[in-house]
């Protein structure tokens, strides 16, 4: 075998500029194995992404009819706390009175609520500093000096538009994607 191969390849080497058929087969085989190995990678990586049941629970419906002005509820959206708050006219006035330009994360209450629904403040209950759950949504909880939310971990204080006003958090409480399915219900996510 070996002797036949050498004589054959020697003949080919002259015309093929040193590239033998065996070299081609080697490269083709290794390339094929490489492509095959790469082809299974997406599956191995993608299995780590949220599974269908986790994604199925990725939207939350909230009934707003029972929430009176001044009240808030704490519910769960994507395994994290979600604050739904019905602002009083006084709280809305306080939020509008804040000097927007001087805020750490400048946003108006209009930008953080939906048109015509300015009293419905829907935010994540996750402090943007290190992910703690701020106080203020539950009955009788401390709301901090700006009347919104107060994070007990490191003292971040949010106002009635859930904007960061004081303390270490860099951003306002996140407003998730949601839509009103009726006047008294929202679908978050």
């Amino acid at each position: 075998m070996a002797t036949v191969e050498t004589s054959e390849t020697a003949a080919h080497a002259v015309e093929g500029e040193g590239v033998r058929r065996r070299d081609f087969i080697n490269i083709a085989a290794v390339a094929f194995a490489g492509v095959g190995a790469v082809a299974v990678l997406p599956t191995l990586i993608n299995q780590m992404n949220p599974s269908a049941d986790v994604l199925a629970a990725a939207t939350t419906e909230v009934d707003l009819s029972a929430i009176k002005p001044g009240q808030a509820v704490k519910t769960i959206f994507r395994s994290q706390p979600l604050f739904v708050r019905n602002l009083t006219p006084k709280e809305i006035a306080e939020a509008d009175a804040a000097p927007v330009a001087s805020l750490r994360d400048p946003q108006t209450l209009e930008e953080r609520t939906q048109a015509g629904k300015k009293n419905w403040l829907i935010t994540m209950g996750v402090c943007t500093h290190l992910g703690c759950v701020p106080l203020g949504a539950g009955e009788g909880e401390v709301r901090g000096e700006f009347g919104g939310y107060f994070c007990p971990c490191h003292g971040s204080t949010y106002d009635t538009a859930a904007r960061i006003r004081k303390g270490p958090a860099p951003k306002n409480l996140e407003v998730p994607v949601y839509k009103f399915t009726s006047d008294t219900a929202i679908l978050v996510g």
Binding site: M48, N49, V54, S79
Partner: protein
């Protein structure tokens, strides 16, 4: 490789000869940690911590495999199954405490091992690869320990997982998808717990494999020693067995006594009481802290409270924390002094102890609440940590005038300073061996 004067493995028993011809595993062990590995004769007790780290890993693997037989890695049952181990499984309390405290003791001996290497210049040529592989082991240990801490699914487990995976969320654009991908959900849940358990089981065996590479790389040049002077001949070495097996055995006894004291008299001293509260995504513990062995790095993470140009503070903290470890990978090329041992580097020695104090301060701040004065102290200490490696070490290497090195390990052992190195070593061997013991005279 070994020195030419290493003792040779020569089995006498026919069975051992038979095995040696077919699979020379006993020969391999003999040459690696037996009489066939010549070691400098002057190693001090700081050289025990490599073996002690290996013992600590063994304790973790043995207790861990047993715990896995009783543990349920499902978010619904994980917390209860740990309490089941503590209360119902025969001797389960002992095994779990041994595992939880074993992790702390693993880090204690590894930190001492690392600082031994830093002081005696063990990372310098020709042992850079030993150092690099050691850092790989350290990173794997940190990942393993973090995922192990999540498994009991208490409050600290949950919020620790959230904060640490949240670090990846600080990366611009791709950060949040990466965090979701790591967790398999939008917050730590069943998916995260299961994958952490799977990886927590796997990684110790990867660590064991890298340890084999670490020892392999070490045995090419052979062990360093407290003088930093290379071995020059057979008079400078003794066989690993029985000399260092005995010395390591003594150190192991001391290690196990201290370990058992904590294990039996303060098994929760190094833990956090909040982790005995089941994980609750709706309520945050007032003060989230990682385990003590992460405190220096946690302090560096939290030291960044201000944005720098366009980089947000959170991302800066994450980058600094990773940089503080990755920096050690280039240490062999930052310290350019040809003298290895800190004993002969008067200026380096001072800065070494300053670094030790600095890391202890960082550790204290990392465990303290994120409030003043700790934030300011960690900022200064973190800045000093980076300055030590990036500014002080290169400059010290350049301007320092090292003390005269001994001519050889033997000369150093016999207390002949280099300037009197010409004196013959043999006659009398000094005062040490002279007086005959009275008991032997009779």
């Amino acid at each position: 490789m070994s020195f030419p004067w290493a003792e040779h493995y020569s089995p006498t028993h026919p069975l051992m000869k038979w095995v040696d011809d077919r699979l020379p595993l006993p020969r391999f062990v003999y040459n690696a940690v037996g009489a066939g590995y010549p070691v400098p004769r002057n190693l001090n007790y700081f050289w025990n911590f490599g073996v002690l780290s290996g013992v600590a890993l063994t304790i973790q693997i043995v207790t861990g495999i047993i715990l896995a037989m009783h543990y349920g890695s499902n978010a619904g049952v994980a917390f209860d199954s740990v309490e089941h181990i503590m209360r119902d499984v025969n001797g389960g309390w002992l095994l779990r405490y041994a595992h939880a405290n074993g992790a702390s003791f693993f880090f204690i001996v590894v930190y001492l091992h690392i600082f031994r290497g830093l002081f005696y210049g063990s990372y310098k040529a020709p042992r850079e690869m030993v150092w690099l592989l050691g850092l790989v082991i350290f990173l794997l240990m940190m990942a393993t320990a973090f995922m192990g801490y999540v498994l009991p699914w208490g409050q600290m487990s949950f919020w620790g997982a959230k904060v640490i995976t949240g670090l990846f969320g600080a990366i611009p654009v791709v950060g949040e998808p990466i965090q979701t991908w790591l967790l398999g959900g939008f917050a730590p849940g069943n998916a995260a717990l299961n994958r952490f358990f799977s990886l927590h089981f796997l990684l110790p065996f990867v660590i064991a494999a890298v340890i084999i590479l670490h020892i392999w790389a070490l045995h090419i040049p052979g062990s360093s020693n407290p003088t930093g002077v290379e071995v020059k001949g057979p008079q400078d070495t003794v066989p690993f067995h029985p000399y260092y097996t005995a010395k390591d055995g003594f150190g192991l006894g001391v290690f196990l006594i201290v370990y058992c004291l904590v294990l039996f008299f303060g098994p929760n001293a190094l833990g956090h009481p909040d982790n005995y509260i089941p994980a609750n995504p709706m309520s945050t513990p007032a003060h989230i802290v990682p385990e003590w062995y992460f405190w220096p790095f946690y302090a560096i993470l939290r030291a960044f409270t201000f944005d720098f140009f366009f980089i947000p503070a959170k991302l800066l903290g994450v980058m600094a924390m990773f940089a503080s470890i990755l920096l050690l990978f280039v240490l062999p090329w930052l310290d350019t002094s040809p003298v290895r041992s800190g004993n002969y580097r008067p200026l380096f020695k001072k800065f070494f102890w300053l670094l030790v104090i600095d890391v202890l301060i960082l550790g204290y701040c990392g465990g303290a609440p994120a409030a003043e004065p700790f934030v300011m102290i960690s900022q200064v200490a973190a800045a000093y940590y980076f300055a030590h490696f990036l500014i002080i070490l290169p400059i010290v290497s350049r301007i320092e005038r090292p003390l005269p090195l001994p001519n050889s390990i033997t000369a150093s052992v016999l207390h002949q300073d280099s300037y009197e190195g010409e004196r013959e070593a043999l006659p009398g061997m000094g005062a040490d061996t002279q007086p005959a013991q009275p008991g032997l005279a009779h």
